[in-house]
Each structure stands twice: as C-alpha cells, then as structure tokens.
C-alpha cells in the first residue's frame, strides 16, 4: 500500500456481541474526500468509532491500516498521535475541563507523539496565538475556549468546537460524523467553508452526512453507501446527488440481502 492512505479491510465490528459491520472495505488517500452515506442505523458511526479504536466496538475480523501499517491493535491515543481524527456525531461533555486546557494537552501530544504525561506542553503564547487564529476563522468568540468541554454547548456550538479541534490538531485523516447536523443555515455554510479550508486537500476526509450542503463545498471524489453493515455501492459525486434525490428505497430493492440484514438489525434493536 502506498504511503498516506487509510484503509479498512474486510472490517467486521460487533457491539455488545451484536454484529454491526460485516466486511467493510475502503481506502482513502490523503487529499481525497470520501462521502459515506447510508440510512439511519446502517453503521456509519460504528465504522468511524471502530477506526478511532473505541473500546466498545469490537473488531471481530479484518483490519485497519494507516500508511500501510496495521493499527488495529493500537490504543485510541496512539491512533490520534499518528494523525487520525474524528469529529463526533454526539460529543460528550467533560465538566470542569476547559476547552483551551484540553486542547493544549491534545495539541502537545499529537505534535509530539513521544510525549509522556507530565512532560512539557506546547508554549502558552504560541498555543494561544494559534487558537485565536483558528477561532477567528470559525467566528468563535475567544471566551468560548474558557468554557468546559461540550458542557452546556448548544448543538451548533458543539459541532463548531469539533471543527476547531480538527483545525488545531491538523490530522492526516479526519472522519466527520454529521458535523453539519444541528447547525443553522448560515452555520452550515460557514462550517462547510472552514472544513474545505482546513481539511481541503491537505487531509483525507471521510464525510458522513445526510445533507447536501457540506458536500457542495467539499465535493467527494468517492461516495460510499452503507446498507446492512456492508458498502453496497461506491461511486463519484453523482451517487451522493442521486441518493439525496431518491432516498434509499431503490438501493434496498437492488440489494435485498443487505436490506434484509438491515431489517434484522433494526428488529434486534427494538427488543
């Protein structure tokens, strides 16, 4: 595998013993934008969390490679330090921890992957300056960095804070999980533009979305459709457009097996 790629190979993932992903394959080169689509509950978030190494998402088969190296067994912090990032669909609140303090630790670790706990942090001045630049770009008030991480943030503020983190951490590959949801019209435009500016062609982006706007500013090179735990179709930007127009029913008819898996999973979920 060439350098500067993120690959998911025959990935099977279970949550609480329940199989969710059943053999996902995907390769993103740095500089590419991939859109990941699929109906609710099809496993998009699961794929992202598995790539980041969430302990509850058990990889039962297959592997994840970064720049040709198997990272399936690495801890989440090691993956982050190698350049992976995920903007979460539902970021969790960390009361009492200021966004700026947290980010300073995060930036120090990611930029100096060998850093151990208690070792030097990135100099305060340098960090503040950069943080301010990025916050200006995202039209965030400087005071916002003094708030506790995601604690009492509005839906839109939360998503913006995720983009801010991406901007500061400058990952090689970023997964954006519905970073456009919960934002008002203007905020979606701003978010889409900033993602284009920050991510642009420097990163490899995997964009999970149900809307068009984000993809308008970040036109995908490749579009994947997840259904029943498998990628059933891969295409170009026109595939995303078609799905936005038509929805998923035609795909379900075309792939009855995957549709059956989807129904089975949904049924299980209801128990």
């Amino acid at each position: 595998m060439s350098p500067e790629t993120l690959s998911v190979i025959d990935l099977h993932v279970s949550v609480e013993g329940k199989p969710i992903l059943k053999g996902v394959n995907l390769t993103i080169r740095r500089g590419e934008i991939h859109a990941l689509m699929g109906p609710n509950g099809s496993g998009k978030t699961t794929l992202g969390l598995a790539i980041m190494g969430h302990p509850r998402y058990e990889i039962t088969r297959g592997r994840i490679e970064l720049d040709g190296e198997d990272i399936t067994q690495l801890e989440p912090h090691e993956r982050a330090r190698r350049g992976l990032f995920m903007a979460f669909q539902r970021p969790v609140a960390i009361p009492g921890v200021r966004l700026a303090d947290f980010l300073r630790h995060a930036v120090s670790n990611v930029r100096n992957p060998a850093r151990k706990e208690g070792e030097e942090l990135i100099p305060m001045r340098e960090f503040r300056k950069e943080l301010k630049e990025k916050m200006d770009l995202l039209r965030m008030d400087a005071e916002f960095a003094r708030r506790y991480v995601n604690d009492g943030f509005s839906g839109g503020e939360m998503k913006r804070a995720e983009i801010l983190q991406m901007a500061m951490l400058r990952p090689k590959f970023a997964i954006l999980d519905e970073t456009d949801s919960g934002l008002d019209v203007d905020a979606v435009r701003l978010a889409s533009q900033s993602i284009a500016e920050i991510g642009g062609r420097q990163m490899g982006l995997l964009i999970i979305t149900h809307h068009e706007r984000l993809l308008e500013h970040n036109p995908p090179d490749v579009t994947h459709v997840l259904l029943g735990g498998r990628i059933v179709e891969t295409g170009g930007p026109e595939l995303a457009e078609r799905l936005h127009r038509e929805g998923y029913d035609q795909l379900r008819q075309k792939y009855p097996e995957a549709a059956a898996e989807e129904a089975a999973l949904a049924g299980q979920g209801k128990q």
Partner: protein, 465 residues
C-alpha cells in the same frame, strides 16, 4: 502498576531521623500538671490557665464520638507540647529521596521546601513580609499567632475566645482547649477590606502550626478578609493526632472566606472543629480541601444568627489507600431570610473511603430561608467506597431546601473522547478528576490552584491500567 500508586502514601512511611540535641524532653501523656506546664511555659494569664484546666476536665468526661470513622488513639502516648524552636531538626540531605522529589514536582520554591520538610525551624517571613504587616497594622488589622495574641491583645481575645466553640462542644474541641498551641489570630476593624489573601503570603507558617492549633478570626462590621491556611505539600508529624479549633465571627455585613488545603501524612488523625457565626447580611465561606491522613473528620459549620446571613461551604476530599475522609458541612439557619449553599465533592481511589456528612438545620422562625446541597462522589475503582449521610432538621415550613447527590465513575465515553485527541488514559483520567474538583480549584488563590492540580496529578499517578 499497583506499587506506583501512591508516591505520597509511600513517602509517609519514612521515619525521620531526629537529632537528639534539639529534642525537647517533654513528657508524654496528658494530666493537670502537663496542661499547667504548657500554660506556664507560655506565660499565660490566669484566665487562660483556668480555661485550659477546665477544658481538660471536660475532655476527660466526654466519651469518644460513636460515629464518623474508627479512632484508635492512646491519649497517653502523645506529646502535647513541643516548643517550636526546639522542634526536632534534620538536614535536607537526610530526607528520603522521594520526599525531595515530591516537593520538586509540586513546584514548591526552594526556600519553602526546606522549611516545609522540617529542615529549617524558622522561616524568614518577617524579613520578606515585614512591609506587608506594616501596611495591615496601619489600617488596624491584627494578624498574629494565637500565643502572641493572648499576650498582646488580652481584651479582644478574652472577649471572643471560645465563644463560638466552647470546650463542651465535643471531645476534640475540649482536648484542643486544654492543650492548644499556635494558630492565627485575626481582627479586621469595621469597614476595612483586606484585598489580598492573608496567609497566602505567610503560608510558610502552616507547617509549623503543630497539632493543636487554635485560630480565631473576627471580622468587624462591613469588613472583609480571606484567610488561607495549609499547603499542598504533604505535612509530616511524628505525632499522629491533629485536633484544631477554628472560630470565625462575621459581624453585620462582613465577608469572610476561609480556605484550607491540607495534605496530611497517612498516619494522622485529622479531627478539626471549624465553626463560624454570621450576623445580619454577613457572608461566611469555607473552602476546604482535604487530602491524605488516616482519618479526617471535619465539618465546617456556619450559624446564621441574624436575617440576611449567608453561608457557602465548598469541600473536596480525596481518599486514597488506607485513608478515610469523613467530611461535610453544617449550616444552622437561626434567623429568617438566611441562605446557605453546600457543594461537596469527593474522590475515592485505591480502596480509599470518603463520606459526606452534612446537617442542614432550619430553626423555628427562620422563615424564607434557603438551603441548597449538592454532593458528588467520584469512585475510581471497585475497591473504593463513598457514602452520604445528609441530615435535615426542619422546624419551619416556609423555606426552600434542595438536596442533590450523585455517585459516578469516570465515564468510558469521556475517556474515549479525550484519548481520541491524543491523551493517554492516565492523562485523560487525571484531567477528568481535575475537572471534577474544578469548582474548588477555581476558588483558590492562583499559586494554590496550580499546586492543587499538580497534586491531583501526583495522586492519580499509576492509577490506571
């Protein structure tokens, strides 16, 4: 990993070597002669001597508390008085490497380190802070150690001493009354606002306060002050009992904040009675952080005696292996339109135990009073324990009372979130714990806040994985 868990805990096991030449050959144990001798050695007036002897009788007549934690003390096996200047000394070089390291890692300045470690018996605080004292003196503020106060301000002391906490209050208050030594005396005249925290500058004295210090603070009408005691460096003592008494009087419209951060060695029983009275529209705030010790029993109290009086009590306890923190708060609403807020946070780790014990009492006639209690416990591992004992006594119906309690573990989702940004699990846990006690830390003077965070990091070391 388990062996690394408690840097501080491990250090506490070391015994200091004592240089024989400096040891004060006092008698162990407690009786009338010893109490009389303490009084004589301090050149005290008759009334204080009588007070001590009476307190001794009360101490002897009182049973041990039957609640709280297990207290296993042989009162006859303790030295009750050692002259500060004759304290056992030792050289910096003699100190165990671990202790020196702890000081370094807490970022304690060099000069203070030596003092805190007991290497130097006296610190040149007079030289460094002399001008500060002068400034205070000009405005009529009295800030001296309690022994000096008894000699130099007999009228003031006699008027207020033990009026808030009489020896009859509890066994350990009686003990303190009999053998007290050291502590601070503060008087702030009407309308004077002391803008910098007292003792933050003199905190060096904290380590010398000894086992039975006695503090009395009187803030007169419309005046204000913030007193800070203790420090985050572990405090060593050859004796295993610390029984302090702190009395605070906040007159009409006064504001007093009393901040304590203490980190006792693992062999210490830390049994402290702290109480304030608040008159009309006065505000009393206790900010109390307890780390270390074998058993701490401490419930800062505020008696709101007149309308409009307010109380804020913020307490944080961190219990690690072999430690029991029984901490909490007491608020007595004795007048209408009084209000109180209690926030208690506890962290238990490596088999440590922390309890919140609190009393909210609304007396008859204290209409329209308000009280709100929030206690949150964080338990870091299954061996550790946390309990809550909230007591509420209502003699009045026309009041507003709130009580919330929560017990939590460090959330998997929170850990993952932080780790996904490059923090190790240990670093993430420390950050979550620091966030948990942030409500206390943000109330601390800057240098204490910084040390407190370092201390938490130290306590958390090796606790994951």
């Amino acid at each position: 990993m388990a062996e690394k868990v408690d840097v501080i805990g491990e250090i506490n096991k070391y015994d200091f070597r004592v240089d024989e030449r400096y040891v004060f050959k006092a008698q162990k144990g407690l009786n009338r002669d010893i109490v009389a001798e303490i009084s004589a050695m301090k050149n005290e007036p008759q009334w204080m001597r009588d007070f001590r002897l009476k307190a001794l009788e009360i101490f002897e007549s009182k049973p041990m508390p039957t609640w709280g934690g297990n207290i296993d003390i042989d009162f006859q096996d303790i030295y009750y008085y050692i002259k500060p200047t004759e304290r056992p000394g030792h050289s910096w070089e003699e100190l165990p490497e671990e202790i020196k390291k702890t000081f370094d890692r807490l970022g304690i300045p060099e000069a203070e380190k030596r003092f805190l470690a007991g290497v130097k018996a006296q610190y040149e605080s007079e030289v460094v802070y002399g001008s500060l004292r002068e400034d205070l003196a000009k405005r009529g503020v009295i800030f001296v150690d309690m022994d000096t106060a008894v000699r130099e301000y007999p009228d003031l002391v006699r008027q207020y001493f033990s009026t808030v906490i009489p020896p009859t209050d509890n066994k350990f208050a009686a003990l303190n009354s009999a053998v007290w030594s050291g502590g601070s005396f503060i008087y702030v005249p009407p309308g004077v606002n002391v803008e910098f925290p007292l003792q933050a500058y003199f905190r060096i004295n904290a380590a010398q306060m000894g086992q039975f210090e006695r503090t009395l603070i009187i803030v007169d009408e419309g005046a204000s002050c913030h007193y800070v005691e203790g420090c985050t460096a572990p405090m060593y003592s050859s004796e295993s009992l610390h029984a302090a008494v702190v009395e605070v009087i906040a007159k009409r419209g006064a504001r007093v904040r009393y901040t304590t951060i203490q980190n006792w060695a693992n062999n210490i029983y830390n049994l402290v009675t702290k109480r304030a009275v608040a008159y009309a529209d006065a505000l009393v705030e206790w900010v109390d952080g307890n780390l270390g010790s074998r058993l701490t029993m401490k419930y800062p109290a505020v008696y709101m005696l007149e309308p409009g009086a307010r109380a804020e009590i913020l307490s944080v306890a961190f219990a690690s292996r072999g430690q029991h923190q029984d901490a909490g708060a007491k608020v007595i609403h004795a007048a209408p339109h009084t209000s109180s807020r209690i926030v208690s946070k506890s962290i238990s780790k490596s088999g440590g135990r922390s309890s919140y014990r609190g009393l909210v009492k609304i007396e008859r006639g204290a209409k329209k009073s308000k009280s709100n209690v929030v206690c949150d416990a964080l338990i870091l591992d299954p061996q550790s324990r946390s309990d809550t004992y909230p007591y509420i006594e209502l003699e009045e119906q026309d009041v507003m009372i709130g009580h919330e309690a929560s017990v939590s573990k460090i959330g998997e989702e929170q850990l993952f979130y932080l780790c996904s940004r490059g923090l190790t699990e240990a670093e993430a846990s420390t950050m979550i714990v620091a966030g948990f006690i942030e409500p206390l830390v943000k109330e601390l003077p800057m240098e204490y806040a910084v040390e407190m965070n370092r201390l938490i990091a130290l306590q958390m070391e090796g606790s994951v994985g």
